[in-house]
Every structure is written in structure tokens, then in C-alpha cells.
């Protein structure tokens, strides 16, 4: 069953409002298991956010003078941004290398990346003690240009704009803005190139934030190559997320994808698995090189050393082999398992830098352990993101075909569009 997209006729602001109000209404069943679980958490999370803004960080978090960064940084931002890395990898493959095979999942991945940045990077807002000053790095006259965080904040903002431009043709198709869609589509390649450069720098920049915590991070994790490791790991983190999210989307939104789409999806997953295996291997190799050069191996016999080996072998080497196995035997289940393993590995790795191997010498009783309120707020952000994703996928051509007028235009002007390098959604399906 393939839903056909209806294109609205929007000629005035009033038309737009009527259309938007119609679209704001829920489309599916209201009392699904997911909704029943997520809605109360979102409501509770919103209340806790309000509480945090009125009472200060101490009222909801377990942060301390010893541990100034908790899971809102270590999980929401660090892990969320790594998982959102799929967008820059996939746009690189689709728009720069022009691999048509992955085109069908490009839009969903870009949307996912955009929402991840909006929501998880948005979690920074909650974590900022003096959040009303959040625009200071962008407007004003006191720029801390020596700060890694200055770079990261600028890049977050610019990359969100890039991702929105990359996704914007879908919005134009939804609204039926034909001329605007053409203009927006012509910006895609530029936004992709800019976005890849920004991603390279801020993915590694998140790692560079820990470079000045030299005296606090366990020597097995601290290395001057933290930025390189963060960048490399964002590749398989992002691709694993694409596998994970794509698998769920293809089940949940099955009615939006035509037969060909379902057929080709397994091949896409195997291709992504191949990429993951390669990235994981390079990452593993880097880790080993750093370990050897750092001459830290006596530490491997300590409890922290065991933890280090669990991360390295269980969540880097093992998923690498599992991906290879899945690719070799075209076993999609193995690839999905490997994706989940390597995502867990990223979770462990980022939390090691921010919470676990950070001041490993502090006894457990004085360590930071997130409060239930921090976890609820994190879950609320995550669920809200899923809601936003679902709302958009149900309305805009993300997984389903673009409306006929958008694809027709492409068929007619195909020779022209190729020369201009304008992206062609779903060319493979045409």
C-alpha cells in the first residue's frame, strides 16, 4: 500500500494557516503503546524542566563541584551528536560520491540528524547555568576565540542550518511550493559540502573539549588524539544509528514505502554494515597504536584497565567482526545486532570521557550518579524527538515518494539538473 501525497494549493497566508491547522491534528491512532508510555514522561519532563529553570541546576541534577558535567552533556550532547553523524556520512556518499543506492534513505537520515541536533544539542540549553546568555558566543563583542567550545557552538548552529537546507525541499514539497522547492534543491550540494566540513570539526571538537582535562581523565583514555578518535567513532556511530533507525522506520512506516523500497533496504543495510566494519577497524587500529605509543599497558591489569578492555574488545572489535560476518553471509540480523553493539560502545566511550574515567580516582561514594530527574528529562527529550520525527514523516515526503510534480520536473529537466548538480530524490526509484 502506497500512500499518495496530496499537494495543497496555498495561495495566501490564510490558506497556509488552514493547511497548517489541518496538519497539526494527529493522523494515526492515539492510544498506541508508545504514546501511552511516552506521553506521561514528556509531561513529567516538561514540569521538571520548568522546575530546573526556576530552582537552578542543583534542584534536579546530581552535579557537583567535582563533577560539573553529567549525562546531559555526556549522553545527550556527546552521544546524541555522535549518533547524528550518519547525516554527514550519508550525504557524503549520496551527493559527493553520488552513490544512488543509498538515496532512498538520505532524506530520513538528514531529518534524523537535524532533529538530533535540535533536541540533543538543545539539551545544552538546560545544562547551561546562565542559559539567558546562550547567544553571547554569537552576538556580542566578547568572543572567546581560543576556546574549543566557541568553535563547537558556532559549528552546531551553522550545521543545524546546513541540515535544514538539505531537508528543506521536503518541506517545500509538503507545502506545494514549487518555485521555492527548486531554489532550495539547488542549495543542497553546497549545504552538504559545508556540512561535512563542519561535522568533521565539531565531531572531533567534542573530543577536544576533554584535552584540557588532562589531569582528570584516566591515562588509558587520555591522549592527544582524542579529537581523531571522536571523529572516527562518529562514522560508525552515525552509520549504526542509520541502520537502527532505518530498521524501526521500515517497520513502523511500512505503508509509506513501496515494494522496491523494501527490497532494496536489505542491500542498503549490508552496504552500511560494510562501511561500519571498515570504520570500526580503523578506529580499533588507532586505539591500539595509541595504547602502544602511550606505553600505558601496565595499567591494563588494573580494574580500569579491565573496563578499558571490555570497551575495546566487546564494543569495538566484536561489532567489527559481527558486521563483517553479516556482510560476508548477507545476514541482516547480524548487522542489526552489530549496530546495537557498536552504539552501546559509543555510549560507554562518551560516558567514560565525561563521567566514568573522568576522575576515576574519586571513590564511588563521592562520584556523580545521575538523579532520576536527569534521566526523566533525557527520556522526555528523546521521546519528543521521536514524536517530531513521526509527525514529519507522516506529513512530508521523507520515506514515501515525492509528489508527482516534483519528480516530473526532474524527469523533464534531467539533463539540466545533472549538469547543475541538483539533487534528485528517488532517482533510483524512477
Amino acid at each position: 500500500m502506497n500512500e499518495t501525497a496530496t499537494t495543497p494549493e496555498i495561495k495566501s497566508v490564510k490558506d497556509f494557516w488552514i493547511f497548517l491547522c489541518g496538519e497539526l491534528k494527529p493522523k494515526g491512532k492515539i492510544f498506541t503503546t508508545f504514546n501511552v508510555i511516552s506521553f506521561p514522561i514528556i509531561v513529567l519532563g516538561a514540569a521538571l524542566i520548568l522546575f530546573r529553570l526556576v530552582k537552578g541546576l542543583g534542584a534536579v541534577t546530581n552535579l557537583s563541584q567535582e563533577f560539573p558535567w553529567g549525562i546531559w552533556i555526556g549522553f545527550d550532547v556527546m552521544v546524541g551528536v555522535a549518533f547524528a553523524g550518519g547525516a554527514y556520512i550519508l550525504t557524503f556518499v549520496v551527493y559527493i560520491l553520488r552513490s544512488e543506492k543509498y538515496h532512498p534513505i538520505a532524506r530520513a537520515t538528514v531529518l534524523n540528524g537535524f532533529l538530533a541536533y535540535v533536541f540533543y544539542a538543545g539539551a545544552i540549553f538546560l545544562d547551561l547555568g546562565r542559559w539567558w546568555n546562550i547567544t553571547n558566543p554569537i552576538f556580542g563583542n566578547k568572543f572567546g576565540v581560543n576556546s574549543v567550545l566557541f568553535l563547537v557552538s558556532w559549528h552546531f548552529m551553522l550545521y543545524m542550518i546546513s541540515l535544514f537546507i538539505e531537508f528543506s525541499p521536503a518541506v517545500a514539497e509538503w507545502l506545494g511550493f514549487k518555485r521555492i522547492r527548486k531554489i532550495l534543491a539547488s542549495l543542497t550540494v553546497g549545504a552538504v559540502i559545508f556540512g561535512i566540513a563542519l561535522s568533521t570539526l565539531h565531531q572531533s571538537g567534542l573530543g577536544a573539549l576533554f584535552l584540557m582535562a588532562k589531569s582528570k581523565i584516566h591515562p588509558l583514555w587520555y591522549t592527544e588524539f582524542i579529537p581523531v578518535l571522536f571523529f572516527l567513532s562518529s562514522i560508525f556511530a552515525g552509520l549504526s544509528m542509520v541502520i537502527f533507525e532505518g530498521t524501526i522506520s521500515h517497520k513502523v512506516f511500512a505503508n509509506q514505502i513501496d515494494h522496491d523500497g523494501h527490497e532494496s533496504f536489505d542491500r542498503i543495510l549490508i552496504g552500511l554494515g560494510k562501511g561500519c566494519a571498515g570504520a570500526l577497524f580503523v578506529y580499533f587500529f588507532m586505539k591500539i597504536l595509541i595504547l602502544i605509543h602511550g606505553k600505558q599497558w601496565p595499567l591494563l591489569t588494573t580494574p580500569m584497565g579491565t573496563w578499558y578492555l571490555i570497551e575495546l574488545i566487546g564494543f569495538v572489535l566484536l561489532p567489527c567482526f559481527l558486521f563483517l560476518h553479516g556482510v560476508r553471509y548477507e545476514n541482516v540480523t547480524a548487522i542489526r545486532m552489530a549496530a546495537i553493539l557498536s552504539m552501546l560502545g559509543i555510549l560507554i566511550n562518551r560516558l567514560n570521557y565525561s563521567v566514568i574515567a573522568y576522575k576515576w580516582y574519586v571513590p564511588l561514594s563521592q562520584r556523580y550518579i545521575p538523579s532520576w530527574m536527569e534521566i526523566v528529562i533525557t527520556l522526555a527529550i528523546l521521546f519528543t524527538e521521536v514524536w517530531a520525527f513521526r509527525w514529519i514523516v507522516n506529513r512530508m515526503p521523507v520515506l514515501r515518494e515525492s509528489p508527482a510534480w516534483a519528480t516530473e520536473e526532474k524527469t523533464v529537466k534531467k539533463s539540466v539538473t545533472i549538469r547543475k548538480g541538483v539533487p534528485q530524490w528517488k532517482v533510483s526509484a524512477m
Binding site: 553571547n136 572567546g144 576565540v145 574549543v148 559540502i193 566540513a197 568533521t200
Partner: protein, 295 residues
Amino acid sequence: MGIDRRSFLKILGAGLAGAALGNVLTPRTVRATAAAHAKEFMGVLVDTTRCVGCRTCEAACADAHSLSVPDIADSSVFSKERPTSVGQWTVVNRYETEKGEVFAKRQCMHCNQPGCVAACLVKAMQKREEGPVTWDTNCMGCRYCMTSCPFEIPKFEYGSATPKIQKCNMCWDRLGKEEKPTCVANCPEKALLYGTRRELIEEANRRIYQKPGEYVPHIYGEHEVGGTGYLYLSKVPFEQIGFRTDLGTTPYPEFTKGFLYSVPLVLLLWPAFLIGVNTLTKKGEEEIGGKGGRS
């Protein structure tokens, strides 16, 4: 493959935009402010052999900065090592050492090239040309200064909806009116000495040479993390009085320097490379398209 004027202008435009952005988004210099200043940094020499643990400095500091003044007669506070806090910019701790009791005052070290200043993305944390490291209210409360400080000095007001970073500012706001920081002015034992770093190091060396038995031959802060404004003398090795001796002599901003220097390179070379790959793959597609191999 020819290049027409249009695409040449496009590439030129992209290059210029990249260069401009590279300039905006990257540091001009990583060195905070220590580089070339006519003024010498001021500092304080703490001679722990003279300190008797009277905690007058704690009270004077609290009084001068409108913090709650501690009861300095209460000696039970010495039972455990206290860090500085949002309500106490300086604390005196007592240590049991191989040469008996030693008292050591702790506060911000006022590094020559502070990690916290390099960390701050809005220049709320600043190294003043007189030497003090100060905090200002344009701070976002990101607490990156806290993770970047090797001495763990910046303290954050978690209990407040309008939190501030609290730390010693070497009485920077009062130095115009007064001669020296209030802790130095009020020390009854002359354990604290205010002066330029150069003078203080000279004086510290003089004391070590004159009474070699009373001091370990090391001035803590002379070279640690690139040099600090507060300098310490001790009769016992410094790890016995709560100092980290594994911090090295590299100024903390140096650790992020390599990464920050790579930023303009990546911003210029990466897009150029990507445009190149994009152009190459385009040509291949045209050929296939010409043969009718697609669609």
C-alpha cells in the same frame, strides 16, 4: 575538462567565503594573554613554613567579597581537607607531614596561561594584565572552566537560578583602592608576600638558599602548568600538603592548540577536496547518462 568563467567565479567565491569563515571561526592566537605585556604579572608568595593556621585570611577574604564570614576560632574544620567553595574563596588546611603539622592556604593559583580562560567561549573568565584571573557575568554557565582547571578552583552555584562562578580574583576589584590583596594585608605572620612574580621568585630562592634545612628546594608554581601567580614554599615535599605534583609544566591552553590550529586548514582544504570529488563523479554520471544507462 574546461573551466568556464561561471564555475571559476563560483569556486573563487566559495574559497573566499571559506577563508573569511576560517578567520571568524578559528583562534588568532591560542596563548591567552601571557605573550608580550609591558606590565609584569603580580602574584603572591605563600610561605607555608610561616603559616600558623589562624585563618585570618579566610575571614578577611569573606569580609572583602561579601561572603559569609567563617568562625575562625573553630579549629574542628581542620579535621578534614576542605576545598574552596562558592562561599569561601580561600581556605587553610592542616596536613600531618613527616615534619609535623603544616598549614597551607588554598585559593585560585592565577596561572600565567590559565586553562579556564582558554576554555571560556565568551571571555567571561579573563587573565588581567596585572595578573589576576577574574570572572564576569556574561558567563553562560557551561562549566567548561571547571573541567579545564588543573587545580579545580572555579566553583559553581548549583543552588541558584542565577548561578555565578565563584573563585578568588586576587582582589582585582579592590586593587585600585588598596595596595595588596586583603589576605596578604591581613596575614599576621607575614606568611604571604605580594609582588611581581619575578620579585617573588627571587625572594623565594633567597629564602631557600639562606635556610636550606627549612625548605625543600622547589617553588611550587614557578614552572607548574607554565607558571602560576601564587607561589608556594614548603618544608616538606608538596604532595604531603595536598598539591598535585603530576601536572607537568605545559600551560594548559597548549593542549588544545594543535586542534585549534587544524581548524582553518580543515575549513579550507576539506570543502576544496569535496568540490573536487563532486566534480569528478559528475563527469562519470554524464557519460553514463549520455549512453542512456540511467533512468
